[in-house]
Each structure stands twice: as C-alpha cells, then as structure tokens.
C-alpha cells in the first residue's frame, strides 16, 4: 500500500519535472560548438561563475563533422569555432553573421597579423575572430625512427615503420599529406591528381597503426606508435610530456591553418557570444587557455608574457620560412567535396 503510493507519487513528480524541462526556454545561455580539447574546461566554469551565463558546450572532431551538426539545424548554436576553409564555405553560403567588434573591446589584444592571415577567407575582416593557428607536421619518437628521414612525407610510406604510423582521420588533412608528397596543391580538384593521391593513401593503409585526430597525442606520449600526423599544437603539448618526442614540418610543404570564432545565422544570444569572445581575449583567460591548448596564440599580451624560449619554440610558433612553404586550405564546391568524401571512404574501407 505504502509502496504503491510512493511509486505513484514519484511518477507524478517526474512527470512534472518532464513538463518543466519541455517548456524551458533558456534565456541566459550560450551554445558553443568547438573542436575537441580546444578550450581549458576551467575557462568555461569561470565564465559561468563570472557572468551567470550557462554555457552549453558541444564538441566535434572534424570540420566536416561541425558542418553537419550546424546544417542539421537541430540546435541553435550561438558561437562556433572552426578552420579557415570551412568558415569560407559557410560565409559563401551566407550562414555567417557580421561581428560587431565594438562590443568586443579586448580584441585589441590580438595581433593584427592574424587578421591579415584570415583575409584569405574573410576578405574584409567582418566575420571572424582568430583563435589559434598552426601547421600540420609529423610528431615522431626520436628513439623509434631514423631522424634524418623525417624531413619528408616519404617516411610515412616507409615499410620499416609498418604498424607504427598514425595518420590523420580527417579527409582534407590526409589528402593534404599525399598531395604535398606528390607536389600538388592541397586544393586540387583535378580528378586524376586526386585519384593519384588516393592510390598513395591506399598503398599506405597496411602500414597504418590507426587513423586518429585528437587521440594521436596520447598514443604518441604512451609510445604506442613511432610517428603521427598531427597539428603543431598537439605536438607542442606532447613534447612537454615525453622528451623522446619531436616535431617536423616536411620540406615538401604542408598546410597552414587558422581557426576562428564566428557567429552563425542561428545565433540567438549574440550579446552573450560577444561577452564570451571578449572573455577569451582577456589576458589571464587567454593565458590559461594557451597553457591548455598550446597552439600559437594571436594574443600579443599572452605571447609577450611567455618565457622567451617558449616564444621561439618552432613547434608552437611556426617560423616564417616554414609558413612560407605552407598552403592554406580553400573551400571546395559541393561536387568536389563529394568526391573527396567518397575517395576517403574508399581508402577507409580498402583492405
């Protein structure tokens, strides 16, 4: 008797809760979409505590993944951080709102050079706010490989390292490696060249330990593999944990990328988004964030406060001659994107 009453009561209370959460129209929130491991979690807590704005934080793995999440339209994102070519695609599709930099006063902390970089996809610097930038290269274990060979992408096809190579699990990054090795542009849509790159990647597959994005760093620290194609910042952080590791950007050239924040058309909380961006530009926050993410930060105050040795660290802050040898990814049309996706899938399912 008592038990049934209890059950009925709890059922009622839960239905009430249910109804409550259905009707919840969150006024003071901010929905953010960002790469994995791309913000110090404490920064989010601090922002919530300081402003009372609840951050609904969501992560994705590859830019293609982000594009799908956004385009699905199932979630109204207020602020998204992603890479150059994907922002370009979204700007071209008219999905990006202009940013009012007057509401983000601390933008003055950011180095103008990076706004110049982002001109390649945001011509008039109207839409985006630079977050971090870097290159793609090979993170390797000095004791497991012949260091003299690591200046070329060729080493990723060296059978001596079969089962010890980690490749990027992202269409454009993987194709970039093959394209650069063949001496092609990483934005080629020429079918023959693409097929050639695909063939190369299929030939490489038996040597691959795994295709990874964010996990590559830990696998390298744990010495589960000899080398991995990673973003420069990932390498920078890995070096701190395991001093047998080193990083190299091959001589054939690589990809230089810049990740920026933008407000998509779906943004419902623009003011909160601006507050968040301003918060991220604040020196103490940016510095905390830099320590966690470890990519080249455009924040001059943070960079100046760093140990001079760290400022010159070529892994984190790629030197000019490396950058000059790098190419930026451009957005491709739908047809070319489909081909890239299909060819990539064929690589992944190859034996």
């Amino acid at each position: 008797m008592k038990k049934t009453l209890l059950i009925l009561l709890s059922m009622l209370s839960v239905s009430a809760l249910f109804a409550g959460c259905m009707g919840k129209d969150s006024p003071n929130t901010l929905t953010v979409l960002n790469y994995g491991k791309y913000i110090e979690p404490k920064v989010l807590d601090m922002f919530e505590d300081e402003t009372g704005i609840k951050v609904e934080y969501e992560e994705y793995i590859t830019p293609e993944n982000m594009y799908t999440k956004y385009k699905a339209g199932a979630i109204d994102y207020d602020l998204i951080c992603t890479s150059d070519y994907m922002i370009e695609k979204l700007i071209n599709e008219g999905e990006v709102l202009e940013m009012n930099y007057d509401n983000i006063p601390l933008v003055k902390n950011l180095d103008q050079t990076y706004f110049d970089f982002s001109r390649s996809f945001d011509e008039k610097n109207k839409y985006t706010l630079p977050y971090f930038f870097g290159t793609v290269g090979i993170l390797y274990n000095k004791e497991m490989i012949d260091e003299s060979k690591v200046d070329s992408w060729d080493i990723l096809w060296d059978e001596a390292y079969a089962g010890k190579i980690i490749m990027a699990d992202s269409v454009r990054d993987s194709f970039m490696v093959a394209q650069k090795r063949l001496g092609y542009s990483l934005n080629t849509t020429d079918d023959e060249k693409l097929r050639e790159a695909q063939k190369l990647l299929i030939a490489q597959k038996p040597l691959i330990y795994s295709y990874l994005v964010d996990e590559a760093q830990d696998e390298m620290i744990a010495e589960n593999a000899a080398m991995a194609v990673v973003y420069s910042g990932e390498a920078g952080l890995a070096l701190e944990y395991n001093d047998k590791l080193a990083f190299s950007v091959p001589k054939e050239g690589s990809n230089m990328w810049i990740d920026c924040w933008f407000m998509p058309k779906s943004a419902k909380h623009k003011e909160n988004a601006e507050k968040f961006l301003n918060f991220l530009c604040r020196e103490d926050i940016a510095s905390l964030n830099f320590d966690y993410v470890y990519y080249a930060t455009p924040n001059t105050k943070v960079k100046d406060s760093l140990d001079p040795e760290l400022q010159k660290n070529p892994t984190i802050f790629p030197p000019k001659e490396v950058l000059d040898n790098c190419e930026v990814l451009k957005s491709l049309d739908d047809e070319a994107t489909m081909r890239y996706n299909l060819y990539w899938k064929e690589i992944k399912s190859a034996d």
């Binding site: 049934t4 709890s10 059922m11 839960v14 239905s15 809760l17 249910f18 959460c21 259905m22 929905t31 953010v32 979409l33 994995g36 491991k37 979690p41 989010l44 807590d45 951050v55 609904e56 934080y57 969501e58 992560e59 793995i61 699905a72 339209g73 199932a74 979630i75 109204d76 994102y77 994005v213 964010d214 996990e215 760093q217 830990d218 696998e219 620290i221 744990a222 010495e223 944990y241 395991n242």
Partner: protein
C-alpha cells in the same frame, strides 16, 4: 575430474569478464597519465573526477533520464498492457507486433529515425533524449506485465465486481498486487536499458547535454583521461551494491523460490 574441468572453465570465463574491469580499477589509482605503467598510488583522479563539472552533469543527466524515462515508460506501458490484455486476438497481435519494432530494431536505426523526426519538428535537447528513451523502454514494461496479467485470475476480479466493488477498487485490490512484480521488473529492465544506451542518445541529444555514455565516448575520442578509470570504479561499485541489494534482499529470495 569433470567437476574440476568445469570449475576451471568457469574461472577462465570469469577472468575474461572481470580482468578488464580490474584493470580499470587498478589504473584509477595509478599516478601516471598516459602510460600503462605503475607510477605510484594516488587518489588524484578521484579528486579531479569530483571537481569536473562536465562529468558530474553527465552523471546527474544519466540518473534523471533513466529514472524519468523508466517511470514514465512504466506508467504508459502498464496501462497499455492492461488495454492490450482486454483486446481480441487480432488487435492484440497487431499491438504486440508494433511493440516489438523498437525492441528488435537496430539502435542506430531507432536513433536516426527519431533524430529525423525531431529535427523536422523541434529542436534537440534534453526532452528529445527523454522521449527517445521512453519509446524504447515501453516495450520492456509491456512484455514484463502482460504475462503477469495473463496469469492473474480473471474470476476473482469479476467476483469482486459482482460483489459491488468499483472497477478501480477491484483493480487496485486484486489485479495490481498480482502484476506488481511484473511492473517492477519491467521498470528495472527499462532503467537498465536506458542507463546502458549509447546510440539512441548519441543521435537525439542537444548541445551540451551528455549522458555518461556519450560523455565517455567524446572523452575517449580525445585521448586518455584517467578520470574515466575512477568513474568506472565508482560505477562498478554502484552496480555491484545495487544489484546485490535487489537480488538478495529477503523478498527477492522468496519470489525466486515461488
């Protein structure tokens, strides 16, 4: 001879089942982040676990979703079972057939089809996860309650009505006690399924909403997080204690003997 072979075999399977769990438990006290080598004893990962808002939130979301979805599914499912039980054979067959769809369908297909629906008509959030969980939970309740209803004695119920009891009173006094075990086991099964679900939640969750399964999935795709080992240890202990309690309380013993 045969006995010892049996014992050894059981022991090997036991090792297969528990070795991975033991490894997680040991690693949760290991003071070394990346490598699987012993770096000394530490409680650091437990401290970090309890200060990590994302994990704590995922934990409470999981509890809320599984409890709420199991309760609502139990309510809807029990009512449905009562209705189905009163139906003619053909109606019952159709209802049971439809009930089996989410039970037999692949998780991924259930999740995707629900996502397609939600995306078209609303926004993804916590409520969509809850609706999805209720949907795949209801069949477990129905399938647990129906057999009990079949066993329950119809004549006693009708006799009560003849003696002037209202249907509600007769139900409460006669049918309800007989189906209660079925309702409870349906509830427990629904909760278990909801706790363990990954695919359906993965496709129907909104921004910033994570159950433990989806949270661990995203964390695993980012690399090694020893807090996850600490979490495993705690979850294992919770499961152990709860199940010991449910299975070995005196009432359950009695039930099992019936």
């Amino acid at each position: 001879m045969r006995k010892s072979i049996e014992r050894i075999y059981l022991f090997i399977i036991f090792l297969f089942l528990y070795l991975p769990i033991m490894v997680l438990i040991v690693l949760s006290f290991n003071n070394s982040k990346a490598k699987v080598v012993w770096g000394g004893f530490t409680l650091r990962w437990y401290r970090e676990l309890f200060t990590n808002r994302a994990i704590l939130e995922a934990f409470s979301t999981t509890i809320f979703v599984s409890l709420a979805s199991a309760l609502l599914a139990t309510l809807l499912g029990t009512l449905a079972a009562l209705g189905i039980d009163a139906m003619k054979k053909s109606g019952r067959a159709i209802m049971l057939g439809a009930t089996n769809i989410p039970l037999l369908n692949a998780d991924i297909v259930t999740g995707i089809s629900m996502m397609l629906l939600f995306v078209r008509f609303t926004r993804l959030g916590l409520s969509t996860v809850l609706i999805a969980h209720i949907t795949f939970n209801i069949p477990y309740v129905i399938l647990n309650v129906l057999p009990k209803l079949k066993q329950s004695s119809r004549t006693t119920y009708e006799a009560a009505l003849d003696l002037g009891a209202t249907p509600l009173y007769a139900f409460y006094k006669i049918t309800w006690p007989q189906i209660l075990p079925g309702v409870l086991s349906g509830f427990l099964m629904a909760m278990t399924m909801s706790l363990d679900d990954f695919s359906v939640t993965y496709f129907t969750k909104g921004a910033g909403i994570n159950t433990l399964s989806t949270m661990i999935y995203t964390e695993m795709r980012k690399g090694i997080r020893p807090e996850m080992y600490a979490l495993s240890t705690i979850l294992f202990l919770i499961a152990l204690i709860l199940l010991l309690f449910i299975n070995f309380r005196p009432a359950a013993r009695k039930e099992a003997q019936d």
